[in-house]
Subunit: 320 residues, 2 copies
């Protein structure tokens, strides 16, 4: 076998559980279950933009897939299949071994089969497409938020951004104790997509998005698609202690509201769903926090101590 085919075979070909024809032919073949729609999402990650070129390959493999599974969670879809196209500067068996281990660790945790892709030479670029199933009509879209709906988020926001700032030396190192630093770096390098939560929100959440660019940017997509506005209470937004203690500080506000890379879910639900969501939170051991409300008046407001908070930047844009 030639080197390119060797790569695919050696590092990326593993048994599949729910795939009719996997890697090795001109295309893979799958069967979508009756009564299901197929949800499809794609992401491209570029060295230098989305991750450091010298980052840990195991974590990179994990995170590359995790951020895509997060898109499935945001639709209430069960992730099932993925393809991986990767451009590599050279064949480094050790790097590839670790990258594929991280990738498949995430895949097996979420029962995702890797069914196809491509390997080629170039600057390091990772392109993943994820596919999942959702019952017909049950997908949770961005466009379904209703007036007076509650706005919820899972987990804590701002941790990954703090971790990145720490590594880039834009955050004073003495601000995070060892435990919090570990949490922040974990959130940055190996987020756990909220797959189980996404499935549990079917029939309950009226809209949902995963927070990748930042809470304000991503909630903004829901508001645009649903043609409504929202007000959030900054003090209600869950975050680690350092941020909770510094809410009056605009830099700290920015981590929470626009840090990005959280991969938590932000969703809306009727007030009548509060009890149900409390139960789901306990069952899944996944914190869910009420942070605001949908209203008719357009715009996205954040209040703190009864005053509006303003940010200079709303989320991350590669070209902005």
């Amino acid at each position: 076998m030639t080197p390119e085919f060797n790569l695919i075979h050696q590092f990326f070909t593993r048994p599949t559980a729910q795939t009719d024809l996997s890697i090795g032919d001109d295309a893979a073949l799958i069967s979508v279950a009756n009564g299901m729609q197929l949800a499809i999402s794609a992401d491209m990650l570029v060295a230098g933009s989305h991750f450091f070129a010298d980052c840990d390959p195991y974590q990179l493999g994990w995170k590359s897939l995790a951020v895509n599974i997060s898109d499935m969670a945001a639709m209430g879809a069960q992730p099932k299949w993925a393809t991986l196209a990767i451009a590599l500067p050279n064949i480094d068996a050790n790097w590839l071994s670790q990258f594929s281990d991280g990738f498949f660790a995430c895949a097996s945790q979420h029962d995702v089969d890797l069914i196809g892709g491509d390997t080629t030479r170039g600057h390091l670029v990772i392109s993943i497409q994820i596919m999942g199933e959702v019952p017909i009509g049950a997908a949770i879209k961005r466009s379904g938020a209703q007036l007076n709906d509650d706005i919820w988020v899972s987990g804590k926001l701002g941790s990954a951004a703090l971790g990145l700032a720490y590594l880039q030396n834009t955050l004073a190192h003495n601000l995070l104790n060892a435990d919090d630093l570990a949490l922040c770096l974990q959130a940055l390098h190996a987020p756990t997509p909220r797959s189980a939560l996404g499935l549990s929100l079917r029939g309950i959440a009226t809209s949902c998005i995963d927070i990748s660019d930042g809470l304000l940017a991503d909630l903004g997509h829901i508001l645009n698609a649903s043609n409504c506005g929202a007000t959030l209470d900054l003090a209600a937004i869950p975050c680690i202690g350092l941020l909770k203690a510094s809410l009056e500080n605009p830099a700290m506000q920015s981590y929470i509201l626009a840090g990005g890379d959280d991969y938590e879910l932000c969703f809306t639900a009727p007030k009548s769903a509060r009890e149900n969501l409390t139960k789901i939170s306990a069952q899944l051991n996944c914190p869910l926090t009420l942070i605001g409300e949908i209203h008719a008046e357009k715009g996205l407001n954040v209040t703190y101590q009864n005053k509006k908070v303003y940010l200079s930047k709303n989320g991350f844009d590669h070209f902005g």
Copy 2:
């Protein structure tokens, strides 16, 4: 909207014909018809490796999708949906306009909906995933070739490689007349995937592959998967006049057998299918040529005037 979202909206959002939920949410939603399997294939194209960074963007847009549709044809699948992830060095509206025009020209010719993707900053990289439908069990795999099957190819081989060699000045410019040069450059820049042929081969071809790396390399995949060997007659392989007239020349043999980028189909079929295939060829106005035979003895032989032809290189490998 921020620049990144503007890009997606402006250049890549067009009406879809067969998609439940297209670009604009966390994932797209499609419904696969009852009785069908979904065929999925992915390709990554890197500037400098697969195409010149300064090539015509319209042709690049066309070809990027065409080479993926070719993988659908090789399975006998009807292409229906695609995602496009692209890394761009900057926002050049003129370039993007032409690229998307070429992409959608190919898409509309083959009734393919663009349903999702990603745009980000980086060296120019294009990653496309194509999805199509094929009746359950009817996909034409690489592994089905039978002893004594005929080996066929569509169209002509070697033209795209000649075109590339011309542009790279490794082929003397006086060897191609103006008409042949135009054909070769067309084959190189804007190949037409054999989609209709692929569909017509369902139930007839025992194996099939599209020729991207080169005839010998790609037929080699069929032989490996089907656990058999083959002998080809060089003089039978369809190619333009320049090559036909120079079959004793190893460099010219190489264009035919290992030039690559042909995007023709190479398939096997029982001898009893010859009449049927002749009719299909006429109906589709697609030349089909018998070039060899499958046999039990392993190995891929090419004979010319009753002597074996040897090549130093079997197909294109990015890392070889």
